[in-house]
């Protein structure tokens, strides 16, 4: 058994170059940026990384879920609203209302993913258009509901998760404040990346997902129901995106602005660029999300520092980076059957 089978190390030269460059950038970033920028990066990576991991499952199975931005929006918004309604800072059944909010956010996101899956798989809708619809519905629904509950497109503030602090370990340099004195959504993100990688590469379900996206007919003739696999994969994308959106809102923002592009502000689309960049590797997507989150954290710092550069221009840095990345990863091979509806031999 070759080594690459056992370890999540990419095999192609291109990916090795990316990984190498990433490592150098990481070292420089850790050395030059401040600890607060480090932690900000980790937290800002949460919605991007989790949405990307979810997107990987959907797209690998052959369903391009461009509505992942919408899933982030609804889960973030739902998380805040449910926490607010239950009463923030209190708990039910010994569980903090923030966690109930997170759960609700994941449920609603999964529900949206289910609608998207039915529309794409059952009714053979164009995946891109249906994904756009999910995004636009979320974009309208969040401020709509917010106005009913809060009489404003922005929600009230509910506060964030408490940091999980591990007594001794949190004293360690670097990893201490990065990993052992950190809000729970960061751990959710890290665990999800490993879990996603394991599911995709080690279980039979993962193999079916890959086959369903590359050659659905092969999977069908092998006796596995392509529809079920795709449903499961899309629902999974809803779960991961829900964790990302609600985790971001409840762990980082503590509130949700539903006006304009909302607080999510295109992070779902950045997530798509991220997993293309990472060539559909969940752990690679985690690393890629650090790139965009790091840029985001740096632009926040630059704005706060009040340099002469206009803030509006700085804010475009992550978006421009996405375009540059897409130009370089243009060669990322999409799964052979991605975007195509699959019809079994006979209906």
């Amino acid at each position: 058994m070759p080594m690459r089978d056992r370890l999540p190390i990419p095999e192609s030269g291109y990916m090795q170059a990316v990984v190498g460059g990433g490592l150098v950038a990481t070292v420089l970033f850790l050395a030059l940026a401040s600890p607060s920028t480090h932690t900000a990066t980790l937290r800002l990576a949460v919605p991007i990384a989790l949405a990307a991991i979810g997107g990987i499952f959907a797209e690998k199975s052959g369903v391009i879920n461009i509505g992942i931005e919408g899933l982030l929006i609804v889960s973030a918004f739902t998380g805040v609203v449910v926490t607010f309604r239950l009463g923030s800072g209190e708990s039910t059944l010994l569980i903090s209302h923030h966690w109930w909010g997170l759960l609700a956010g994941v449920l609603v996101s999964t529900l949206f993913a289910l609608v998207f899956a039915v529309v794409c798989i059952e009714f053979k809708a164009d995946q891109i258009i249906a994904g756009l619809a999910v995004w636009l519905i979320a974009l309208g629904l969040a401020p709509f509901v917010s106005r009913i509950v809060f009489e404003s497109p922005n929600t009230a503030t509910v506060g964030t998760f408490d940091n999980v602090t591990v007594p001794v370990l949190s004293e360690l340099p670097l990893v201490g404040y990065l990993l052992f004195d950190t809000p729970p959504q960061v751990w959710i993100m890290l665990i999800s990346a490993v879990l996603g990688w394991y599911l995709l590469s080690r279980t039979s379900f993962g193999r079916w997902v890959v086959a369903s996206g590359e050659n659905p007919k092969a999977l069908d003739t092998a006796g596995v129901d392509v529809r079920k696999v795709r449903y499961a994969a899309v629902l999974l994308s809803g779960v991961f995106a829900g964790l990302g959106g609600a985790g971001f809102a409840l762990g980082q923002l503590g509130t949700f602005a539903g006006g304009g592009e909302t607080d999510i502000g295109g992070r779902g689309f950045i997530a798509i660029a991220t997993y293309l960049f990472a060539n559909y590797h969940p752990i690679g997507a985690l690393a890629g999300s650090f790139l965009f989150a790091g840029l985001d954290a740096i632009q926040v710092r630059l704005q706060a520092a009040g340099y002469a550069v206009p803030t509006e221009l700085i804010r475009t840095i992550p978006y421009v980076t996405v375009i540059i990345v897409l130009v370089f990863v243009g060669k990322t091979r999409l799964p052979e059957a991605a975007g195509e509806n699959y019809e079994s031999g006979e209906d």
Partner: protein, 565 residues
């Protein structure tokens, strides 16, 4: 069968039944019995009350022309289609398969013409797909066990495949063995092979025959779908012939001549007489000079081809699909830029010309893939009639298309080339494949070209229209058009071509008058061997490659001449 006791769990059932010696088959021991199967699709009856009886441990060929309903029948047996009428009996038990899963469970495996493999996955992953053994309470795939089981199967049937290799890196023949292993891994006793030789080189075909022999020797039953007479008579113990969705009958290949079989298949005696007067050639219209083409993966697929076609000449290219002829044609027609070499057309260097410029200069092209290239499927025939000419003076005036002129033109094509239904407003997608092809051929032939590049011009077309297309090709040649013909039908290229180039791995093995080559020699050249190098290999090609033509068999060209080339 001595080792059957040591087989893995999936094979124990087979071991219990496997005592049948192929030599002492009883007629009653049927592995598969299809009784009166009827299967309809919108507008077509694909199978009409078809019977098929397959004895255990035999190779049974299902022979018929394209569209005779062979694949549909096998898809019924494999549970992909549900029949409207009839019974499926496997091992004496009546079955109803709702999905391939049911068929797999009943011990049926199918090797599709287009392999059902996931190219990006490894051999082991493909073989176990959908049947992965698990460990850790189902939380992980037991990869060691898969590899062990594959190795056992390989030992048993004498296969040589690396379970860790990625499928995309394997040769076509090896991929086919992976498909067979996949079926065996699932415990298949009955293997259906759909046109298994279509993509193989003659050597790989020989290898396949050996595999089939080994499989039947161990008690497996093979159903072999083919449209090639030679293969059916060579490999099968029994042959069932299908025609137009009906079964014509089952025959023993020993007691039947190829002419008779051909007649069963086609329904009337075929005499392919496309011989024409010797050509009167004029100037060189097209020449390719040391053309090298690399494909998308930067693999060199055309390695220095030279050719010259004169006006009034048909130049044929024969070869097994995938030996660079597709890329060569694309380089000539302007869909691909050659990496080296020059292409000259009507005396001008057109190597860097766009496709548009080449069309305007008088190059007509019947493409290989009519669904993707030749026709715009959602457009009607009027709109398809102008494809390629949308900027030519005939139909467009300062950027505007004269749709009335286009409609007249399309109606003319429809009438002349007998496209049915004769309705210019019909969408291309609604036509049958043969009629689509006739429309493309018509559009390209009527372009008033200097050069016609025709790839598989009669693929999927009925006999009557094939003859018409051949006649038109010869008329064009008579009119002084240069013609480059690529076809996988050997009798077609041989009888129509004035000169024939045999392509193998991107190079011409030989360019010669087709009448100077026997079928054996041609077969060897297509396999990359020069006849003189290996004179004793010709026996293995007996009957192979004779295509659907029965009329070709007895014309006395079969003795090797040895001194050609």
């Amino acid at each position: 069968m001595t080792d059957s006791g040591t087989g893995t769990t999936t094979e124990e059932g087979e071991a219990a039944r496997g005592g049948t010696d192929p030599g002492s088959r009883r007629t009653a021991d049927l592995a598969v019995h299809l009784d009166g199967i009827t299967k309809r699709f919108p507008g077509v009856v694909a199978n009409d009350d078809v019977d098929l009886r397959v004895e255990r441990g035999s190779v049974h060929a299902l022979l018929g022309e394209n569209g005779a309903g062979k694949t549909t029948l096998m898809n019924v047996l494999y549970g992909l289609y549900q029949p409207e009428g009839g019974r499926v009996v496997v091992d004496g038990e009546e079955r109803s398969f709702d999905s391939p899963r049911d068929a797999i469970d009943a011990g049926i495996g199918m090797i599709h013409q287009h392999f059902m493999l996931v190219d990006t996955m490894t051999v082991a992953e493909n073989i176990a797909l959908g049947n992965e053994p698990r460990k850790w309470f189902g939380l992980a795939v037991d990869r060691k066990r898969i590899n062990r089981e594959i190795r056992d199967l390989c030992d048993r049937y004498g296969f040589d495949v690396d379970p860790g290799a990625t499928v995309a890196d394997l040769s076509v023949g090896a991929q086919q063995r992976v498909e067979i292993l996949k079926a065996l891994y699932r415990g298949a006793d009955v293997l259906i092979l759909d046109e298994p030789t279509a993509v193989l080189t003659p050597q790989e075909v020989e290898g396949l025959y050996d595999v089939l022999e080994e499989l039947t020797a161990q008690g497996k039953t093979i159903i072999f779908i083919t449209h090639k007479l030679g293969e059916a008579t060579h490999a099968a113990d029994e042959i069932t012939v299908l025609r137009d969705g009906k079964s014509v009958g089952t025959v023993d290949p020993e007691g039947t001549t190829q002419d008779e079989l051909a007649e069963y298949m086609v329904g009337r005696e075929v005499l392919l007489e496309a011989e024409a007067d010797p050509c009167e050639t004029g100037d060189v219209v097209l020449s390719a000079d040391d053309v090298v083409v690399e494909d998308e993966r930067d693999v060199e697929v055309v390695s220095g081809i030279d050719l010259e076609i004169r006006s009034g000449e048909i130049f044929g290219i024969a070869g097994v699909d995938g030996n660079g002829q597709g890329e060569l044609i694309e380089a000539i027609t302007g869909l691909r830029t050659p990496d080296e070499g020059t292409i000259t057309f009507d005396g001008e260097d057109v190597t860097d010309w766009s496709r548009r410029e080449r069309i305007d200069a008088g190059m007509a092209y019947v493409p290989e893939d009519r669904h993707k290239q030749g026709l715009v499927m959602p457009f009607d025939l009027v709109e398809n009639g102008v494809l390629g000419s949308q900027r030519s003076e005939e139909f467009a005036n300062s950027g505007r298309i004269d749709w009335n002129a286009v409609r007249d033109h399309s109606e003319e094509i429809i009438e002349t080339y007998d496209v049915r239904p004769p309705n210019p407003d019909a969408d291309a997608v609604s036509l049958s494949g043969g009629n689509q092809q006739k429309f493309i051929v018509g559009r390209e032939f009527e372009r008033d070209p200097d050069l016609v590049v025709a790839t598989h011009p009669t693929r999927g077309v009925d006999i009557g229209s094939t003859e018409f297309i051949h006649d038109r090709l010869l008329e064009l040649r008579q009119e002084g058009v240069a013609i480059l013909l690529v076809s996988s039908k050997l009798d077609e290229v041989r009888s129509l071509s004035d000169r024939l180039g045999v392509i193998y791995e991107g190079e011409f093995m030989d360019v010669t008058d087709p009448d100077d080559l026997t079928e054996e020699e041609l077969g060897l050249l297509m396999a990359g061997q020069r006849p003189s190098e290996n004179a004793d290999a010709d026996a293995s090609f007996r009957g192979d490659g004779s295509g659907a033509s029965g009329g070709r068999g007895g014309d006395g060209r079969d003795e090797p001449t040895g001194d050609s080339a």
